[in-house]
Symmetry: C2
Subunit: 214 residues, 2 copies
Amino acid sequence: MTELLSLPAAELLDRFASSDPTPGGGSAAALSGALGAALVSMVCAMPKTRTGAAPERARLDAALGWAREAGERLRALVEEDTRAYDAVVAAYRRPKGSDEEKAARKAAITMAMARATEVPLETAEACLVVLKSAEEAASHGNPNALSDARTGAALGWAGLVGAAENVRINAASLSDGGTTATLRVEAAVAEGRRRAGALGPPSSARSEADQRWS
Amino acid sequence: MTELLSLPAAELLDRFASSDPTPGGGSAAALSGALGAALVSMVCAMPKTRTGAAPERARLDAALGWAREAGERLRALVEEDTRAYDAVVAAYRRPKGSDEEKAARKAAITMAMARATEVPLETAEACLVVLKSAEEAASHGNPNALSDARTGAALGWAGLVGAAENVRINAASLSDGGTTATLRVEAAVAEGRRRAGALGPPSSARSEADQRWS
């Protein structure tokens, strides 16, 4: 199988646009988070910090570590989400003639669905790390790159939102009703919303944000 | 110059993460919008519609046209934003020894900044089209792809937010104070927020959204 991220970017976009079921929203969410992590890494790696104070460098170095780790994980999750969803499709296509076949098919679907819930849950949680590192980049990084940090945050938030959609849909078919997965993802969404909000709104409340960040 | 979108996707992510000033947030915003447009195109192109009613097909066909056009434009804007920002950097590096050189440099900066404001403004407006088509896809498209439509909307919104950050920063250095560009982008952000909100929240208000969309 061709790794999705080894495709030319334009061709990868074509794959998302095609009517094939994969890659779909789960992989796109992971890619969004990976792109956000890349922008945040750029800002954290800049030599210049917000005011030049030494503690800023230490915080940015820490945030760079988080962003790079989350970014690597999210790149892998682009592939894993597609594989997980392909496995769900394959499980549904299993024969269902005899009782044995029906039971085996049902077990295969259950297993595939558990994985197809776990993968976007991991994506959501990695996107939360992107948001956390974006906050550090915006607060302590080079002010000339503030728009990059904020764009990184927006991409992390989009990835979190998209991944959460996939968790919610797939969790519903889990044996426990997906309660654990649903609670975990809602916790991630709630924290992500708080962090995204703290990064300053892209809004008419901008003047306030300007005072805070510039 | 290598077109960014002809690079393998993993390498493009590396470029965003590198400490080079480009590609930066403006190109990432356009890429986010292009990815959102791709997901929305996938949903609109599915044969199955929400209830099977004929008007749904017509609306989805129209939305598919918008999403494809916006997606094509956003792919081009990934490159254009990087070129525009490179031109700003080049203008700032012009010699400033004599009065003539200073005047020529200042004129070059003004021109480059105008372009570096226009490009993300176009990105913001194209992302708004992605949101508009995502709304149609979520309202009238295959319910099984609702999470894809919503993820497409989240990506369109992230692109709009990121592009707006770039417009605001660059508009400040325009001769008219960037009033026109700023008003246009704030109008896009306001409409985008409304459309993103209408698509249903990724939140605890979910049960309400479920009633609406499922």
